[in-house]
Amino acid sequence: MGTENTIKELENHARSVRRHIVRMIHDSGTAGHYGGSLSCVEILCCLYFGWMRHRPGDPEWDERDRLVLSKGHAAPALYAVLAEAGYFLVEQLGSFKRLGGILQGHPDMKLTPGVDMSTGSLGQGLSVALGMALAGKLDRKNYRVYALLGDGELDEGSVWEAAMAASHYRVDNLTAIVDRNNLQISGPTESFMRLEPLKKKWEAFGWEVIEVDGHRIGQILQALGTTDRVSGRPGLIIARTIKGKGIRFMENKKECHSCALTEEQFEEVMRELESG
Protein backbone atom coordinates (compact mmCIF):
# COMPACT_ATOMS: atom_id res chain seq x y z
CA MET A 1 0.00 0.00 0.00
CA GLY A 2 1.25 3.47 -0.85
CA THR A 3 3.48 4.25 -3.76
CA GLU A 4 7.08 5.29 -3.26
CA ASN A 5 6.04 8.87 -3.92
CA THR A 6 3.21 8.83 -1.40
CA ILE A 7 5.54 7.44 1.22
CA LYS A 8 8.17 10.11 0.47
CA GLU A 9 5.54 12.81 0.66
CA LEU A 10 4.25 11.57 4.00
CA GLU A 11 7.78 11.31 5.37
CA ASN A 12 8.30 14.96 4.42
CA HIS A 13 5.11 15.87 6.25
CA ALA A 14 6.32 13.94 9.28
CA ARG A 15 9.62 15.85 9.31
CA SER A 16 7.81 19.14 9.06
CA VAL A 17 5.26 18.17 11.73
CA ARG A 18 8.08 17.23 14.16
CA ARG A 19 9.61 20.67 13.71
CA HIS A 20 6.22 22.30 14.34
CA ILE A 21 5.74 20.23 17.50
CA VAL A 22 9.10 21.14 18.98
CA ARG A 23 8.76 24.82 18.15
CA MET A 24 5.17 24.94 19.42
CA ILE A 25 5.94 23.39 22.79
CA HIS A 26 9.16 25.34 23.23
CA ASP A 27 7.47 28.65 22.31
CA SER A 28 4.68 27.98 24.78
CA GLY A 29 7.28 28.67 27.45
CA THR A 30 6.25 25.72 29.58
CA ALA A 31 7.05 22.05 29.82
CA GLY A 32 5.09 20.06 27.28
CA HIS A 33 4.29 16.56 26.09
CA TYR A 34 7.13 16.02 23.63
CA GLY A 35 7.38 12.27 24.08
CA GLY A 36 3.85 11.17 23.27
CA SER A 37 3.47 13.80 20.57
CA LEU A 38 6.57 12.71 18.72
CA SER A 39 5.73 9.02 18.93
CA CYS A 40 2.47 9.37 16.97
CA VAL A 41 3.64 11.72 14.19
CA GLU A 42 3.74 9.09 11.43
CA ILE A 43 0.36 7.69 12.52
CA LEU A 44 -1.34 11.09 12.31
CA CYS A 45 0.42 12.01 9.07
CA CYS A 46 -0.75 8.79 7.45
CA LEU A 47 -4.32 9.47 8.58
CA TYR A 48 -4.55 13.14 7.59
CA PHE A 49 -2.31 13.24 4.52
CA GLY A 50 -2.71 9.76 3.15
CA TRP A 51 -5.89 8.14 4.33
CA MET A 52 -8.85 10.00 5.81
CA ARG A 53 -11.49 11.73 3.72
CA HIS A 54 -11.68 15.24 5.10
CA ARG A 55 -11.86 18.85 3.91
CA PRO A 56 -9.66 21.39 5.68
CA GLY A 57 -11.77 24.14 4.10
CA ASP A 58 -14.96 22.61 5.47
CA PRO A 59 -14.19 21.18 8.92
CA GLU A 60 -17.86 20.39 9.63
CA TRP A 61 -18.33 18.39 6.42
CA ASP A 62 -20.89 15.77 7.36
CA GLU A 63 -19.37 12.92 5.37
CA ARG A 64 -15.85 13.34 6.71
CA ASP A 65 -13.90 10.61 8.45
CA ARG A 66 -13.43 11.47 12.13
CA LEU A 67 -10.48 11.21 14.45
CA VAL A 68 -10.78 11.15 18.23
CA LEU A 69 -7.42 11.85 19.83
CA SER A 70 -8.08 9.88 22.98
CA LYS A 71 -4.51 10.51 24.13
CA GLY A 72 -5.31 14.20 24.24
CA HIS A 73 -1.92 15.16 25.63
CA ALA A 74 -0.55 14.58 22.12
CA ALA A 75 -2.43 17.73 21.12
CA PRO A 76 0.75 19.34 19.74
CA ALA A 77 1.00 16.55 17.15
CA LEU A 78 -2.65 16.93 16.15
CA TYR A 79 -2.40 20.73 15.96
CA ALA A 80 0.75 20.54 13.84
CA VAL A 81 -0.94 18.11 11.45
CA LEU A 82 -4.14 20.20 11.24
CA ALA A 83 -2.13 23.38 10.56
CA GLU A 84 -0.04 21.62 7.94
CA ALA A 85 -3.27 20.31 6.37
CA GLY A 86 -4.64 23.85 6.19
CA TYR A 87 -7.32 23.94 8.90
CA PHE A 88 -5.65 27.07 10.27
CA LEU A 89 -2.46 29.01 9.74
CA VAL A 90 0.82 27.47 10.83
CA GLU A 91 1.56 30.79 12.57
CA GLN A 92 -1.29 30.07 15.00
CA LEU A 93 0.71 27.21 16.47
CA GLY A 94 2.53 29.97 18.35
CA SER A 95 -0.60 30.50 20.44
CA PHE A 96 -0.44 26.98 21.91
CA LYS A 97 -1.53 27.08 25.58
CA ARG A 98 -1.90 30.87 25.44
CA LEU A 99 -4.89 32.47 27.08
CA GLY A 100 -7.45 33.43 24.47
CA GLY A 101 -5.85 31.32 21.72
CA ILE A 102 -7.52 28.56 19.73
CA LEU A 103 -5.09 25.88 20.90
CA GLN A 104 -5.78 24.62 24.40
CA GLY A 105 -3.30 22.36 26.18
CA HIS A 106 -5.62 19.48 25.31
CA PRO A 107 -7.93 19.35 22.26
CA ASP A 108 -11.09 21.46 22.29
CA MET A 109 -13.55 20.83 19.47
CA LYS A 110 -15.28 24.14 20.07
CA LEU A 111 -12.14 26.21 19.62
CA THR A 112 -9.97 24.46 17.06
CA PRO A 113 -11.06 23.84 13.47
CA GLY A 114 -10.55 20.19 12.55
CA VAL A 115 -10.69 18.82 16.10
CA ASP A 116 -13.52 16.28 16.13
CA MET A 117 -13.73 15.77 19.90
CA SER A 118 -12.60 17.47 23.07
CA THR A 119 -10.32 15.11 24.95
CA GLY A 120 -7.66 15.05 27.62
CA SER A 121 -9.16 13.02 30.42
CA LEU A 122 -7.84 9.59 29.47
CA GLY A 123 -9.84 6.49 28.69
CA GLN A 124 -12.86 8.14 27.09
CA GLY A 125 -12.05 8.63 23.42
CA LEU A 126 -12.77 5.09 22.29
CA SER A 127 -16.30 5.33 23.71
CA VAL A 128 -16.87 8.61 21.89
CA ALA A 129 -15.53 7.12 18.66
CA LEU A 130 -17.92 4.21 19.15
CA GLY A 131 -20.82 6.64 19.47
CA MET A 132 -19.77 8.33 16.24
CA ALA A 133 -19.48 4.97 14.50
CA LEU A 134 -22.95 3.95 15.70
CA ALA A 135 -24.37 7.24 14.38
CA GLY A 136 -22.72 6.57 11.04
CA LYS A 137 -24.32 3.13 10.89
CA LEU A 138 -27.75 4.51 11.81
CA ASP A 139 -27.52 7.13 9.07
CA ARG A 140 -26.03 4.67 6.59
CA LYS A 141 -23.11 7.01 6.03
CA ASN A 142 -19.81 5.87 4.66
CA TYR A 143 -17.53 7.76 6.98
CA ARG A 144 -15.06 5.94 9.21
CA VAL A 145 -14.06 6.82 12.71
CA TYR A 146 -10.51 6.58 14.02
CA ALA A 147 -9.42 6.73 17.64
CA LEU A 148 -5.82 7.17 18.68
CA LEU A 149 -5.06 5.82 22.14
CA GLY A 150 -1.95 5.86 24.26
CA ASP A 151 -0.71 2.58 25.70
CA GLY A 152 -0.55 3.93 29.26
CA GLU A 153 -4.14 5.02 28.73
CA LEU A 154 -5.14 1.37 28.49
CA ASP A 155 -4.85 1.23 32.29
CA GLU A 156 -8.22 3.02 32.36
CA GLY A 157 -11.05 0.53 32.84
CA SER A 158 -13.39 2.55 30.66
CA VAL A 159 -11.24 1.68 27.61
CA TRP A 160 -12.23 -1.93 28.10
CA GLU A 161 -15.89 -1.03 28.51
CA ALA A 162 -15.64 0.56 25.09
CA ALA A 163 -13.63 -2.35 23.67
CA MET A 164 -16.33 -4.77 24.74
CA ALA A 165 -19.15 -2.57 23.44
CA ALA A 166 -17.58 -1.85 20.03
CA SER A 167 -17.15 -5.53 19.46
CA HIS A 168 -20.68 -6.27 20.72
CA TYR A 169 -22.20 -3.77 18.28
CA ARG A 170 -20.01 -5.10 15.46
CA VAL A 171 -18.97 -1.64 14.33
CA ASP A 172 -16.70 -2.22 11.36
CA ASN A 173 -16.49 1.50 10.57
CA LEU A 174 -14.21 2.03 13.58
CA THR A 175 -10.46 1.66 13.75
CA ALA A 176 -8.53 2.23 16.95
CA ILE A 177 -4.79 2.73 16.96
CA VAL A 178 -2.67 2.23 20.05
CA ASP A 179 0.50 4.29 20.15
CA ARG A 180 2.56 1.54 21.77
CA ASN A 181 5.60 3.49 22.94
CA ASN A 182 5.97 1.34 26.07
CA LEU A 183 6.32 4.27 28.46
CA GLN A 184 3.96 6.03 30.80
CA ILE A 185 4.83 8.82 33.25
CA SER A 186 6.13 6.44 35.89
CA GLY A 187 8.24 4.43 33.47
CA PRO A 188 7.87 1.27 31.38
CA THR A 189 4.23 0.22 31.05
CA GLU A 190 5.18 -3.38 31.76
CA SER A 191 6.79 -2.47 35.09
CA PHE A 192 3.91 -0.39 36.39
CA MET A 193 0.79 -1.97 34.92
CA ARG A 194 1.41 -4.91 32.64
CA LEU A 195 -0.43 -4.66 29.31
CA GLU A 196 0.97 -7.71 27.55
CA PRO A 197 -0.14 -9.88 25.91
CA LEU A 198 -1.82 -6.85 24.37
CA LYS A 199 -2.67 -8.33 20.98
CA LYS A 200 -4.30 -11.36 22.59
CA LYS A 201 -6.33 -9.16 24.92
CA TRP A 202 -7.86 -7.17 22.08
CA GLU A 203 -8.40 -10.31 20.04
CA ALA A 204 -10.18 -11.86 23.01
CA PHE A 205 -12.42 -8.80 23.07
CA GLY A 206 -13.36 -9.54 19.47
CA TRP A 207 -11.23 -7.08 17.55
CA GLU A 208 -9.24 -7.61 14.36
CA VAL A 209 -5.71 -6.78 15.47
CA ILE A 210 -2.68 -5.86 13.39
CA GLU A 211 0.75 -4.97 14.71
CA VAL A 212 2.97 -2.58 12.79
CA ASP A 213 6.07 -0.46 13.15
CA GLY A 214 4.42 2.85 13.96
CA HIS A 215 7.14 4.88 12.31
CA ARG A 216 6.99 3.05 8.97
CA ILE A 217 4.57 4.85 6.68
CA GLY A 218 4.09 1.89 4.35
CA GLN A 219 3.21 -0.45 7.18
CA ILE A 220 0.74 2.00 8.73
CA LEU A 221 -1.05 2.60 5.43
CA GLN A 222 -1.24 -1.11 4.79
CA ALA A 223 -2.74 -1.73 8.25
CA LEU A 224 -5.30 1.06 7.73
CA GLY A 225 -6.29 -0.61 4.50
CA THR A 226 -6.68 -3.98 6.17
CA THR A 227 -8.78 -2.71 9.08
CA ASP A 228 -10.97 -0.73 6.68
CA ARG A 229 -11.81 -3.91 4.85
CA VAL A 230 -12.66 -5.97 7.94
CA SER A 231 -16.35 -6.69 8.13
CA GLY A 232 -18.49 -7.26 11.21
CA ARG A 233 -16.00 -6.13 13.84
CA PRO A 234 -13.80 -3.19 14.76
CA GLY A 235 -10.12 -3.00 13.90
CA LEU A 236 -7.17 -2.30 16.14
CA ILE A 237 -3.69 -1.33 15.04
CA ILE A 238 -0.96 -1.73 17.63
CA ALA A 239 1.63 0.72 16.38
CA ARG A 240 5.00 0.00 17.98
CA THR A 241 6.62 3.37 18.43
CA ILE A 242 9.44 5.17 20.22
CA LYS A 243 8.51 7.79 22.75
CA GLY A 244 10.26 11.06 21.88
CA LYS A 245 11.03 9.76 18.36
CA GLY A 246 13.22 12.14 16.38
CA ILE A 247 15.02 13.78 19.27
CA ARG A 248 17.94 11.55 20.13
CA PHE A 249 18.30 12.40 23.80
CA MET A 250 14.57 11.99 24.38
CA GLU A 251 14.01 8.69 22.65
CA ASN A 252 12.75 5.98 25.01
CA LYS A 253 13.22 8.24 28.03
CA LYS A 254 10.33 8.43 30.47
CA GLU A 255 11.40 11.98 31.37
CA CYS A 256 10.31 13.18 27.92
CA HIS A 257 6.65 12.51 28.74
CA SER A 258 6.50 16.13 29.77
CA CYS A 259 9.64 18.25 29.80
CA ALA A 260 11.18 21.52 28.66
CA LEU A 261 14.17 22.23 26.42
CA THR A 262 16.91 24.73 27.16
CA GLU A 263 17.60 27.28 24.39
CA GLU A 264 20.73 25.35 23.42
CA GLN A 265 18.86 22.08 23.29
CA PHE A 266 16.13 23.69 21.23
CA GLU A 267 18.62 25.03 18.66
CA GLU A 268 20.35 21.66 18.50
CA VAL A 269 17.10 19.75 18.12
CA MET A 270 15.82 22.02 15.36
CA ARG A 271 19.12 21.60 13.46
CA GLU A 272 18.86 17.84 13.88
CA LEU A 273 15.29 17.84 12.58
CA GLU A 274 16.15 20.15 9.62
CA SER A 275 18.86 17.81 8.44
CA GLY A 276 16.95 14.61 9.30
Binding site: R66, M117, S127, L134
Partner: protein, 319 residues
Protein backbone atom coordinates in the same frame (compact mmCIF):
# COMPACT_ATOMS: atom_id res chain seq x y z
CA UNK B 1 -52.32 31.34 40.50
CA UNK B 2 -52.21 27.88 39.07
CA UNK B 3 -55.21 25.59 39.13
CA UNK B 4 -54.01 22.10 39.83
CA UNK B 5 -55.53 18.76 39.09
CA UNK B 6 -57.07 17.14 42.15
CA UNK B 7 -58.07 13.69 41.01
CA UNK B 8 -55.69 12.00 43.41
CA UNK B 9 -54.28 9.96 40.54
CA UNK B 10 -50.67 8.94 41.20
CA UNK B 11 -47.80 8.23 38.86
CA UNK B 12 -44.01 8.34 39.07
CA UNK B 13 -42.02 10.90 37.10
CA UNK B 14 -40.08 8.07 35.46
CA UNK B 15 -43.34 6.78 33.99
CA UNK B 16 -43.93 10.19 32.47
CA UNK B 17 -40.47 9.91 30.92
CA UNK B 18 -41.08 6.50 29.37
CA UNK B 19 -44.16 7.76 27.55
CA UNK B 20 -42.67 11.09 26.53
CA UNK B 21 -39.57 9.42 25.12
CA UNK B 22 -41.66 7.05 23.07
CA UNK B 23 -43.65 9.94 21.56
CA UNK B 24 -40.48 11.89 20.81
CA UNK B 25 -39.00 8.87 19.12
CA UNK B 26 -42.01 8.61 16.86
CA UNK B 27 -41.78 12.29 15.92
CA UNK B 28 -38.03 12.65 15.41
CA UNK B 29 -35.66 10.02 14.06
CA UNK B 30 -32.66 11.85 15.54
CA UNK B 31 -33.78 10.74 19.00
CA UNK B 32 -31.81 7.76 20.27
CA UNK B 33 -31.86 6.24 23.75
CA UNK B 34 -29.15 4.62 25.81
CA UNK B 35 -29.22 2.80 29.10
CA UNK B 36 -26.87 0.89 31.38
CA UNK B 37 -28.75 -2.32 32.11
CA UNK B 38 -31.70 -0.58 33.77
CA UNK B 39 -34.23 0.08 30.98
CA UNK B 40 -37.08 -1.47 32.92
CA UNK B 41 -36.30 0.77 35.91
CA UNK B 42 -35.60 4.01 34.03
CA UNK B 43 -38.51 3.34 31.65
CA UNK B 44 -36.43 3.59 28.48
CA UNK B 45 -37.59 0.02 27.80
CA UNK B 46 -40.69 1.15 25.90
CA UNK B 47 -38.56 3.14 23.49
CA UNK B 48 -36.21 0.18 23.16
CA UNK B 49 -39.04 -2.16 22.21
CA UNK B 50 -40.44 0.24 19.63
CA UNK B 51 -37.12 1.37 18.16
CA UNK B 52 -34.57 -1.40 18.78
CA UNK B 53 -32.18 -0.03 16.16
CA UNK B 54 -32.07 3.33 17.92
CA UNK B 55 -31.64 1.89 21.40
CA UNK B 56 -28.34 0.98 23.02
CA UNK B 57 -28.26 -0.86 26.31
CA UNK B 58 -24.51 -0.79 26.90
CA UNK B 59 -24.56 -3.01 29.95
CA UNK B 60 -23.39 -2.03 33.41
CA UNK B 61 -20.96 0.59 32.14
CA UNK B 62 -21.99 4.14 32.98
CA UNK B 63 -18.70 5.71 31.95
CA UNK B 64 -19.01 4.20 28.49
CA UNK B 65 -22.70 5.16 28.42
CA UNK B 66 -22.15 8.91 28.57
CA UNK B 67 -19.10 8.99 26.29
CA UNK B 68 -20.91 6.92 23.65
CA UNK B 69 -23.86 9.30 23.95
CA UNK B 70 -21.47 12.19 23.34
CA UNK B 71 -20.18 10.54 20.17
CA UNK B 72 -23.74 10.05 18.90
CA UNK B 73 -24.51 13.71 19.67
CA UNK B 74 -21.35 14.85 17.87
CA UNK B 75 -22.81 13.25 14.74
CA UNK B 76 -26.24 14.86 14.95
CA UNK B 77 -28.21 12.47 17.11
CA UNK B 78 -30.20 13.57 20.17
CA UNK B 79 -29.29 10.93 22.76
CA UNK B 80 -31.31 10.39 25.92
CA UNK B 81 -28.98 8.45 28.21
CA UNK B 82 -30.48 7.02 31.37
CA UNK B 83 -29.59 5.12 34.49
CA UNK B 84 -30.08 5.67 38.22
CA UNK B 85 -29.21 9.25 39.21
CA UNK B 86 -26.44 8.07 41.50
CA UNK B 87 -24.58 6.12 38.82
CA UNK B 88 -24.92 8.80 36.17
CA UNK B 89 -23.88 11.82 38.15
CA UNK B 90 -21.47 10.32 40.63
CA UNK B 91 -19.80 7.49 38.76
CA UNK B 92 -19.69 9.09 35.30
CA UNK B 93 -19.14 12.66 36.48
CA UNK B 94 -15.85 13.08 34.68
CA UNK B 95 -17.26 11.65 31.43
CA UNK B 96 -20.21 14.03 31.71
CA UNK B 97 -17.85 16.94 32.29
CA UNK B 98 -15.27 16.04 29.62
CA UNK B 99 -17.43 14.56 26.87
CA UNK B 100 -20.80 16.27 27.36
CA UNK B 101 -20.64 19.57 29.25
CA UNK B 102 -17.27 20.89 28.10
CA UNK B 103 -17.97 20.45 24.37
CA UNK B 104 -21.64 21.39 25.00
CA UNK B 105 -22.86 18.31 23.14
CA UNK B 106 -26.56 17.71 22.78
CA UNK B 107 -26.86 14.87 25.31
CA UNK B 108 -29.87 14.51 27.60
CA UNK B 109 -28.97 12.91 30.91
CA UNK B 110 -32.29 11.67 32.27
CA UNK B 111 -32.04 9.74 35.50
CA UNK B 112 -34.42 7.81 37.70
CA UNK B 113 -34.26 6.84 41.39
CA UNK B 114 -33.00 10.23 42.49
CA UNK B 115 -33.19 11.37 46.11
CA UNK B 116 -34.45 8.67 48.44
CA UNK B 117 -36.55 6.90 45.83
CA UNK B 118 -34.43 3.76 45.79
CA UNK B 119 -35.67 3.70 49.37
CA UNK B 120 -35.04 0.14 50.51
CA UNK B 121 -31.69 -0.11 48.74
CA UNK B 122 -29.99 2.44 50.96
CA UNK B 123 -27.17 4.92 50.46
CA UNK B 124 -25.36 3.11 47.64
CA UNK B 125 -28.39 3.45 45.35
CA UNK B 126 -29.58 6.89 46.44
CA UNK B 127 -28.12 10.25 45.57
CA UNK B 128 -28.71 13.45 47.45
CA UNK B 129 -25.94 15.41 45.70
CA UNK B 130 -26.75 15.04 42.01
CA UNK B 131 -28.26 18.49 41.62
CA UNK B 132 -25.17 19.99 43.25
CA UNK B 133 -22.87 18.10 40.89
CA UNK B 134 -24.81 18.82 37.71
CA UNK B 135 -25.53 22.47 38.36
CA UNK B 136 -21.86 23.23 38.97
CA UNK B 137 -21.02 22.13 35.43
CA UNK B 138 -20.87 24.97 32.90
CA UNK B 139 -23.20 24.50 29.87
CA UNK B 140 -25.49 22.18 31.87
CA UNK B 141 -29.20 22.86 32.24
CA UNK B 142 -30.79 21.21 35.29
CA UNK B 143 -34.50 20.35 35.42
CA UNK B 144 -36.32 18.62 38.28
CA UNK B 145 -39.95 17.83 37.38
CA UNK B 146 -42.61 17.63 40.07
CA UNK B 147 -44.99 15.11 38.54
CA UNK B 148 -45.46 12.86 35.52
CA UNK B 149 -47.15 15.57 33.44
CA UNK B 150 -44.43 18.11 34.10
CA UNK B 151 -41.91 15.40 33.26
CA UNK B 152 -43.46 14.94 29.84
CA UNK B 153 -43.23 18.68 29.28
CA UNK B 154 -39.66 18.77 30.56
CA UNK B 155 -38.60 15.92 28.28
CA UNK B 156 -40.09 17.62 25.24
CA UNK B 157 -38.41 20.89 26.25
CA UNK B 158 -35.09 19.11 26.79
CA UNK B 159 -35.27 17.59 23.31
CA UNK B 160 -35.98 21.00 21.80
CA UNK B 161 -33.16 22.64 23.78
CA UNK B 162 -29.78 22.63 22.02
CA UNK B 163 -27.16 21.46 24.53
CA UNK B 164 -26.71 19.26 27.59
CA UNK B 165 -29.67 18.86 29.94
CA UNK B 166 -29.89 16.96 33.21
CA UNK B 167 -33.41 15.81 34.10
CA UNK B 168 -33.81 14.37 37.58
CA UNK B 169 -36.58 11.80 38.02
CA UNK B 170 -37.86 9.54 40.75
CA UNK B 171 -39.36 6.15 41.25
CA UNK B 172 -41.85 7.24 43.92
CA UNK B 173 -45.51 7.40 42.87
CA UNK B 174 -46.66 10.97 43.40
CA UNK B 175 -49.94 12.78 42.68
CA UNK B 176 -50.48 14.16 39.20
CA UNK B 177 -50.83 17.88 39.78
CA UNK B 178 -50.37 19.63 36.46
CA UNK B 179 -52.48 19.73 33.31
CA UNK B 180 -50.74 18.96 30.01
CA UNK B 181 -51.75 22.28 28.47
CA UNK B 182 -49.97 24.27 31.17
CA UNK B 183 -47.13 26.54 30.23
CA UNK B 184 -43.69 25.02 30.78
CA UNK B 185 -40.56 26.89 29.90
CA UNK B 186 -37.05 25.92 30.96
CA UNK B 187 -35.79 28.57 33.38
CA UNK B 188 -39.23 29.88 34.41
CA UNK B 189 -40.95 29.24 37.72
CA UNK B 190 -44.60 28.31 38.19
CA UNK B 191 -46.50 30.08 40.94
CA UNK B 192 -48.84 27.57 42.56
CA UNK B 193 -50.49 29.97 44.98
CA UNK B 194 -49.99 33.58 45.98
CA UNK B 195 -49.57 34.84 49.52
CA UNK B 196 -47.72 37.47 51.48
CA UNK B 197 -46.72 35.75 54.72
CA UNK B 198 -43.89 33.53 53.54
CA UNK B 199 -42.45 32.19 50.29
CA UNK B 200 -42.07 28.44 49.84
CA UNK B 201 -39.92 27.33 46.91
CA UNK B 202 -40.17 23.65 46.05
CA UNK B 203 -38.44 21.53 43.45
CA UNK B 204 -39.31 18.02 42.31
CA UNK B 205 -41.76 15.53 43.68
CA UNK B 206 -42.12 17.13 47.11
CA UNK B 207 -44.50 19.62 45.49
CA UNK B 208 -47.47 17.62 46.78
CA UNK B 209 -46.14 17.82 50.36
CA UNK B 210 -45.58 21.55 49.99
CA UNK B 211 -49.11 22.09 48.65
CA UNK B 212 -50.54 20.16 51.59
CA UNK B 213 -48.43 22.25 53.99
CA UNK B 214 -49.66 25.48 52.41
CA UNK B 215 -53.28 24.32 52.70
CA UNK B 216 -52.80 23.51 56.37
CA UNK B 217 -51.18 26.90 56.90
CA UNK B 218 -54.12 28.58 55.23
CA UNK B 219 -56.43 26.99 57.80
CA UNK B 220 -54.35 28.80 60.39
CA UNK B 221 -54.70 32.06 58.50
CA UNK B 222 -51.21 32.00 57.00
CA UNK B 223 -51.09 32.96 53.32
CA UNK B 224 -48.17 31.11 51.78
CA UNK B 225 -46.72 32.01 48.39
CA UNK B 226 -45.87 28.66 46.84
CA UNK B 227 -43.59 28.54 43.82
CA UNK B 228 -42.53 25.46 41.87
CA UNK B 229 -38.89 25.68 40.77
CA UNK B 230 -38.66 23.02 38.06
CA UNK B 231 -35.49 24.48 36.62
CA UNK B 232 -32.57 24.73 39.00
CA UNK B 233 -30.27 26.01 36.28
CA UNK B 234 -30.67 28.56 34.84
CA UNK B 235 -32.41 29.70 38.01
CA UNK B 236 -35.27 32.19 37.71
CA UNK B 237 -33.66 34.61 40.17
CA UNK B 238 -36.03 37.40 39.29
CA UNK B 239 -39.08 35.43 40.42
CA UNK B 240 -37.38 34.42 43.66
CA UNK B 241 -36.34 37.99 44.49
CA UNK B 242 -39.75 39.35 43.58
CA UNK B 243 -41.46 36.97 45.98
CA UNK B 244 -38.85 37.55 48.70
CA UNK B 245 -39.47 41.30 48.47
CA UNK B 246 -43.14 40.67 49.08
CA UNK B 247 -42.98 38.12 51.91
CA UNK B 248 -39.62 38.82 53.52
CA UNK B 249 -39.00 35.13 54.30
CA UNK B 250 -38.10 32.19 52.05
CA UNK B 251 -38.28 28.45 52.70
CA UNK B 252 -36.84 25.95 50.22
CA UNK B 253 -37.98 22.32 49.97
CA UNK B 254 -36.09 19.57 48.16
CA UNK B 255 -35.38 15.84 48.29
CA UNK B 256 -31.66 16.61 48.15
CA UNK B 257 -28.85 17.78 50.34
CA UNK B 258 -29.18 21.37 51.50
CA UNK B 259 -25.61 21.68 50.26
CA UNK B 260 -25.59 22.55 46.58
CA UNK B 261 -29.25 22.14 45.67
CA UNK B 262 -32.26 24.43 45.62
CA UNK B 263 -31.46 25.71 49.12
CA UNK B 264 -27.98 26.74 48.05
CA UNK B 265 -28.98 28.35 44.78
CA UNK B 266 -31.70 30.30 46.61
CA UNK B 267 -29.20 31.42 49.26
CA UNK B 268 -26.89 32.62 46.49
CA UNK B 269 -29.64 34.55 44.72
CA UNK B 270 -30.97 36.15 47.90
CA UNK B 271 -27.54 36.99 49.33
CA UNK B 272 -26.59 38.81 46.14
CA UNK B 273 -29.87 40.55 45.39
CA UNK B 274 -32.21 40.75 48.34
CA UNK B 275 -31.09 39.18 51.62
CA UNK B 276 -34.00 37.88 53.70
CA UNK B 277 -34.13 35.06 56.27
CA UNK B 278 -34.03 31.62 54.67
CA UNK B 279 -34.91 28.13 55.90
CA UNK B 280 -33.57 25.28 53.84
CA UNK B 281 -35.60 22.08 54.13
CA UNK B 282 -33.66 19.14 52.77
CA UNK B 283 -31.19 16.51 53.83
CA UNK B 284 -28.74 17.95 56.30
CA UNK B 285 -25.35 16.70 55.13
CA UNK B 286 -26.18 13.01 55.44
CA UNK B 287 -26.04 9.94 53.25
CA UNK B 288 -29.20 8.10 52.35
CA UNK B 289 -30.30 4.94 54.13
CA UNK B 290 -32.75 2.07 53.87
CA UNK B 291 -36.36 2.52 54.88
CA UNK B 292 -39.85 3.11 53.52
CA UNK B 293 -40.07 6.32 51.56
CA UNK B 294 -42.58 7.77 54.05
CA UNK B 295 -40.28 6.94 56.95
CA UNK B 296 -37.32 8.51 55.19
CA UNK B 297 -39.27 11.69 54.44
CA UNK B 298 -40.35 11.83 58.07
CA UNK B 299 -36.86 11.26 59.44
CA UNK B 300 -35.33 13.92 57.20
CA UNK B 301 -38.05 16.46 57.74
CA UNK B 302 -39.60 16.46 54.27
CA UNK B 303 -43.30 15.86 55.07
CA UNK B 304 -46.16 18.36 54.83
CA UNK B 305 -46.39 18.52 58.61
CA UNK B 306 -42.72 19.39 58.95
CA UNK B 307 -42.89 21.98 56.17
CA UNK B 308 -45.89 23.48 57.97
CA UNK B 309 -43.81 23.73 61.14
CA UNK B 310 -41.15 25.72 59.26
CA UNK B 311 -43.88 27.98 57.82
CA UNK B 312 -45.20 28.67 61.34
CA UNK B 313 -41.70 29.38 62.65
CA UNK B 314 -41.04 31.73 59.74
CA UNK B 315 -44.21 33.70 60.38
CA UNK B 316 -43.50 33.86 64.10
CA UNK B 317 -39.96 35.11 63.50
CA UNK B 318 -41.31 37.94 61.38
CA UNK B 319 -43.52 39.24 64.17
Amino acid sequence: MTVLRQTGEKKSTRDGYGEALLRLGEADSRIVALDADLPSSTRTAKFGQKFPERFFNVGIAEQNLYSVAAGLAACGKIPFASTFAVFATERALNQIKQCVAYPALNVKIVTSHSGFSASGDGASHQTLIDIALMRSLPNMTVVVPADAVQTEQAIAAAAAHEGPVYVRLGKTEVPILFEPHMDFRIGKTITIRRGSAVTVLVTGILLGEAIAAASLAEQEGIETELINIHTIKPIDGEAIVQSARKTGYVITVEEHSIIGGLGSVTAEVLAEHHPVPLTRIGVRDAFGESGDIEELYEKHGLTAKQILESIRLAVRSKQ
